[in-house]
């Protein structure tokens, strides 16, 4: 019974179905329970939340990743599945502590001051949530002081900064300086991304990592997370 429901969760991650109203990928899925309904059922049946994550969500995402590598799936497929995992984690998080499970880590995301572009930052947020991180998205055009204050209060492991404009990328350097001034720089790993920035720029402002695209950002965060855990 538990295996059946975990298998269904896995399949619905692949299908990218959050609720029963989602159409998913194959015909005839609408109306059948989506991942959120399946997780509620699983929790009611006392299935361990850690099993739901590892045998349902993570396994489903792994299959999506394999299909992506094989060029059978594309970025919208990955994002749809990542959104499903994110929605699932919202339900599961309150249950994790009780089950002895530990969340992967917290990330604050923001597009820096003066910049209204948020598509890239949103995609990275979805993918990070899909990868099991807790994401707090501050939004776009965010003051340096607001970002620093959020780092102080939320105590995240990571800070993700995004900019699309050459004129606003300089504000990333301001955030780095403000973190130093506030004595918070060594408390958080900073990863930056966006069209005008580069690996070289990341180094020049003292950031810990640079993601060339959404998947690059995830790789950098995972690498920093694993290095920290080791």
């Amino acid at each position: 019974m538990a295996d059946d429901i975990l298998k269904l969760i896995q399949e619905n991650v692949i299908q990218g179905r959050i609720t029963k109203d989602d159409e998913g990928f194959d015909d005839g899925m609408a109306g059948q329970p989506g991942v959120t309904e399946l997780i509620e059922t699983a929790l009611a049946q006392k299935i361990n939340p850690q099993d739901i994550i590892s045998k349902g969500l993570t396994r489903g995402m792994a299959i999506v990743g394999e299909k992506f590598e094989a060029k059978q799936y594309f970025i919208p497929d990955m994002l749809a599945s990542a959104q499903v995992v994110g929605a699932a984690m919202d339900i599961l998080e309150p249950h994790l502590a009780g089950a002895g499970a530990k969340a992967k880590g917290k990330i604050i995301m923001a597009t820096v001051k003066g910049d209204l572009h948020d598509i890239g930052k949103n995609i990275v947020s979805i993918l990070l949530r899909g990868a099991g991180y807790t994401v707090k998205d501050l939004g776009n055009d965010i003051d340096t002081s607001t970002i620093v204050e959020a780092v102080r209060e939320e105590k995240p492991q990571f800070l993700g900064l995004s900019a699309l404009l050459i004129s606003t990328m300089a504000n990333m350097a301001d955030v780095m300086q403000a973190l130093k001034d506030a004595g918070l720089r060594d408390k958080v790993k900073v990863v930056i991304g966006g069209a005008p920035v580069s690996e070289e720029f990341a180094k020049s402002i003292g950031a810990d990592g640079y993601g060339a695209d959404g998947f690059g950002a995830i790789r950098v965060v995972e690498s920093l997370f694993n290095a920290n855990a080791a």
């Binding site: 919208p76 497929d77 994002l79 749809a80 949103n122 995609i123 979805i126 998205d137």
Partner: protein, 513 residues
Amino acid sequence: MPREGILVRTPYERITDEQVQQIHHASMEILKDPGLISFNKEAAEIFHSNGADVTTVSSGNNPCWLVRIPEELVLSAVDSANKTVKLGARNLENILIMKGDEPRVFFITGSETNTWLDVDFQTYVRKSEPATEIRVPEFHPRRGTVADLCKSAHVCEHLQTVDGYIRTVNIQDKDITEDNKDVNKFFASLNNTTKHVMSGLTSLKQLDNVVRMAELIVGGKEQLKENPIISFITCLVKSPLQFVEDTTDTFIEVCRRGLPVVVSSSPQAGTSAPIKEAGIMAQINAEVLAGITLSQLVNKGTPVLYGSVPVRARMDTLGDSYGSVETSQYNIDCVQMARFYKIPNYSTSGVCDAKVPGQQSSIERLFSDLVVTLSGPQFLHCAYGLLDCNAIFCLLQAVLDDAHFQMIKFFLKPALIGEKEIAETLKQIREVVATPQKMYIRHIRSVMRSGEISSPYPFEGDLANDNVFALAYERMNELLAKPVEHIDSVTTSKIFQEIPGLLPRLNVYEERR
């Protein structure tokens, strides 16, 4: 089910209805005065016996006649010409149905070139940085052979956008003569593609052998009439306004056999036609109508295409400039004239002045392919792989051309906007704007694999590298490695027994033994 082609719902029109009428009337005037000089006696006699004013201009070794064609004769021929022309195919799913009043476009290869362009890739090392290597294509011209023609037909069989096949290369093997060229070029083409095959004829003496070959393939005379897997193109009119002796003979004989035929005229604005648009249009229209009139006088109901290959002269050499913008303008005008007469049009695009694949060839051919397609010709001879006007054929270029025709076909798909789509969209917009991230990405998935989203350019390189040629070359070799459906062994055996002059090496069943 015949091939669909692509329907141009709102065809681009360059000239107004009034201008169409003006060209029509000017052409009628031209056919009466000055009329055409016919170097073909039979054509002069046919016109004369049907009421045209025919006078002998010169006799002796090079006799010719002045033919003045009255308007009634032309209009009667236009009236009797088929408004729908069917071009058959070995595979019935590749049949082409062309309606003169329907702007449904079919993309066809051609024309015959003397030179085949081989491609290979050389590796170059940067002098200042020996670790950096690049692969650069090199092009090597040589005379075309029958093996090349087989390869070209083979690849075009697999190119998705190619609807029919005109031979792309003149076969110049040592054992090819005027007496066996036609049977070998038709057999090489028919045996390597299941699509429609059109060609010119080198020798009238070979016409019956070619027709018999086609009858053997489809199962008989009546079957060939029902499914004409071959058709012919003849340049019976040499500009300005002359019926050529030998090609007119060929034309008359093809008409007598009732097979589809293109009346093709190819005047060059500036030399063999007036440089101004009004002039070349009035003349080419008169030349094509003269040919169509002859076709109907020879055999009423002959399926005939209004063939237009107008071109502007280059100002530096007075050679053809198919890459010139005016050439596309003339072609679009011709499409409109053919539609005015409701006769399916054979039009031309994609012929370029560039001599090798590259930026010039891409720009010239994409420009004309796009604008001429938008005007809605039925039979678009769009020069897959042709370079240097019609002198060179390059298979790699044909593969590249297929990629941009996929874009053109996609572009011409009808807009999916209706009450259902609007209702779905409003629901989607309301749902998405209510979410924190306000992104529509989830809704891409349902349309991503339905064919509603265009594919990326198939030869896109990695990062900043332009690998178009290398990737197209890989694709070309993939297509060559795919099997084609040859004519079956029993029919092939009958063809080789009955049709003289076929090269034994073209018999794939004998070659395999």
